[in-house]
């Protein structure tokens, strides 16, 4: 096969690196630059004069906003106005992070949001400091059809009507959002796959309609209201946690959680904060620890084997009797267990550690493949990477029965197949 390839002269290529690169590559590179640096490229040479204003990404990050607002609020507002005025064409991504700026009233933001939504924004992020009063989301955000990713901090949802239609939305992240109920509102997002809600208020009258929802994460101070998710039955990953130690969920709330757990699709990852385990444990009264121990000791506490459980991670292991029992139980009842990772809550000396590991190793294991990993205590900073790690894997089902078996220890369980 004699085919002559058109070979560029290397010297010609060296003369001008940029003309050599296709437009999508230069856009890609500039997309990673903060807006100030990207704006500077217009001075490089004439051909690039209009590349920056036509970039489909506008990322006004925290550093940028804080810097300008540090000079004066009017400089900041003027500069953002100028940037938007110079911009040509569509905006795929618009990030406005004013979390370092104190700037109510919000007329300017309304205008900038309008500009972004009018230009077909697909990926919208808006961050506002929690010290500022919440920003009331203008109605054009609800009507923005192009949106696929929406990330909001400290806003008020007061929709013009009771149905919020996000027809193309796949990822929704809401932190400190207040829903002002119109009796009963519905978030209709048929394509939504990932939903995170952190510290949101007013969700009791909310319903999320999305048959594709796979990833759901709800964190809050109070026991999360799960009623709005009862229509989601394709969940694969479920993270739940709350921090009010004194709250005891009532019967309805407990049964909603159980319903949700039972509706989970066959492969999933389950993350439950320690307080869940606490609330859903057996009815114990005064002598908590003793009752849990007795309960864990009875054969009825986990009668079915956990056939699908393959991986267990326990954080903040404190070497309490209840925790040891839980581990023993999981070892005994999970015939396909592959890996049991236990992370220490705090560093202990080698003698103590040897003692714990000997103890752990003695437990009989139903699964011949089960490996035990005993990890020294890790700082919280390693958690995020671990989490992404987990998302990439296939994960498991564990029925509500485990909730009842879990002890009162201060631990979080990652359980997945």
């Amino acid at each position: 096969m004699t085919q002559v390839y058109s070979r560029r002269s290397k010297r010609a290529a060296v003369e001008d690196r940029i003309s050599d690169l296709p437009r999508n590559v230069t856009n890609h590179i500039l997309g990673f630059l903060p807006v100030k640096e990207a704006a500077r490229t217009s001075i490089l040479y004439k051909r690039w004069r209009h590349i920056w204003p036509m970039l489909p990404y506008l990322v006004l990050d925290n550093r940028f906003c804080k810097n300008l607002a540090g000079k004066s609020l009017s400089v900041f507002k003027e500069t953002v106005d100028t940037i938007l005025l110079q911009h040509l064409g569509v905006i795929d991504k618009f990030v406005l992070d004013v979390s370092g700026v104190h700037l109510p009233p919000y007329e300017n933001i309304d205008r900038w949001m309008l500009y972004a939504t009018r230009n077909g924004v697909k990926d919208l992020t808006f961050k506002l400091s929690i010290e500022c009063s919440a920003y009331k989301l203008p109605s054009h955000v609800f009507n923005c059809l192009a949106l696929t990713h929406l990330k909001l901090f400290n806003c008020v949802f007061k929709p013009p009507n009771s149905v919020l239609g996000f027809h193309n939305l796949t990822t929704l992240y809401l932190e400190r959002i207040t829903f002002v109920p119109v009796e009963f509102s519905i978030i209709n997002a048929p394509l939504l796959m990932n939903l995170t809600m952190r510290y949101c208020d007013g969700t009791q009258h909310l319903s999320v309609v999305s048959s594709w929802l796979q990833y759901l994460s709800v964190f809050g101070i109070q026991y999360p209201n799960l009623n709005c998710f009862t229509n989601c039955n394709n969940l694969r990953v479920l993270h739940l946690d709350y921090s009010d130690m004194n709250y005891t969920p009532n019967h309805d709330e407990r049964s909603t959680l159980e319903k949700l757990l039972f509706s989970l699709a066959p492969t999933h990852e389950l993350y439950l904060g320690s307080l869940f385990l606490k609330c859903h444990k057996v009815r114990t009264t005064s002598d908590n620890a003793q009752a849990v121990l007795t309960y864990l000791g009875t054969p009825a506490c986990l009668d079915r084997p956990l056939n699908k459980l393959k991986h267990v991670i326990i954080h903040w292991f404190k070497d309490s009797k209840a925790e040891l029992f839980l581990v023993k139980l999981l070892f005994a009842r999970a015939p396909y267990l592959i890996r049991m990772s236990i992370e220490q809550a705090k560093a202990s000396d080698s003698k103590e550690e040897r003692h714990i590991t000997t103890e752990l190793m003695r437990f009989p294991r139903a699964s011949p493949k089960a490996e035990l990993f005993y990890l020294p205590s890790v700082l919280n900073s390693t958690t995020p990477s671990r989490r992404t790690d987990l998302h990439q894997r296939k994960v498991c089902i564990l029925r509500a029965s485990l909730l009842e078996n879990a002890s009162n220890s201060h631990q979080n369980c990652f359980i997945y197949v």
Partner: protein
């Protein structure tokens, strides 16, 4: 169906660079590139790459091999590999980025573009021009006018180095 995928995994591909060098790689390694994947789906096992030179192709094959064997345990190892991979001259980076773009390897594209962006981030326009081998075609008056229009962008200290 399962048996066909198994034999498929062992199938080999030949990649031919713009300098006419040939490289044999496993199909499962090659299909991380969308361009190669499309050709494989059309039944090709010989893939000429007229836009990718040998030097870049060797590095990219290394990258693909490393990332094809990604498991949970070698996460750190891959991170170190990636870090070394982009620790090179601008000329190499540009060569690699156009190759990655042609081959449609999105994770590699992201990594390279991010690296280039990070490395030109705090540089002065003069330094960036030298890095990109650009001859400025503005007259001094025009340049001053643009600087004035975007005054905010030209404030502060710049880095004049070229690496």
């Amino acid at each position: 169906m399962a048996s066909t995928t198994e034999t498929k995994q062992k199938k080999m591909l030949i990649l031919k660079s713009a300098d006419n060098d040939e490289f044999e790689i496993e199909e499962s390694v090659g299909v991380q590139s969308e361009t190669i994947k499309n050709l494989v789906e059309d039944g090709f096992t010989f893939v000429p790459l007229p836009n990718v030179y040998t030097k870049a192709l060797i590095k990219i094959i290394d990258y693909l091999k490393k990332h094809a064997n990604k498991t949970d345990s070698n996460d750190e190892e891959i991170k170190t590999f990636d870090k070394d991979f982009v620790n090179t001259t601008f000329d190499d980076l540009f060569e690699l980025v156009s190759a990655a773009n042609y081959l449609h390897i999105s994770c590699l594209m992201n990594m390279l573009c991010q690296t280039i962006a990070d490395r030109i981030k705090d540089k002065s326009p003069e330094a960036v021009r030298k890095i990109f081998h650009i001859n400025c075609d503005y007259t001094p008056e025009e340049e001053a006018k643009i600087r004035k229009a975007n005054a905010q962008a030209f404030e502060g200290q710049f880095d004049e180095s070229l690496d």
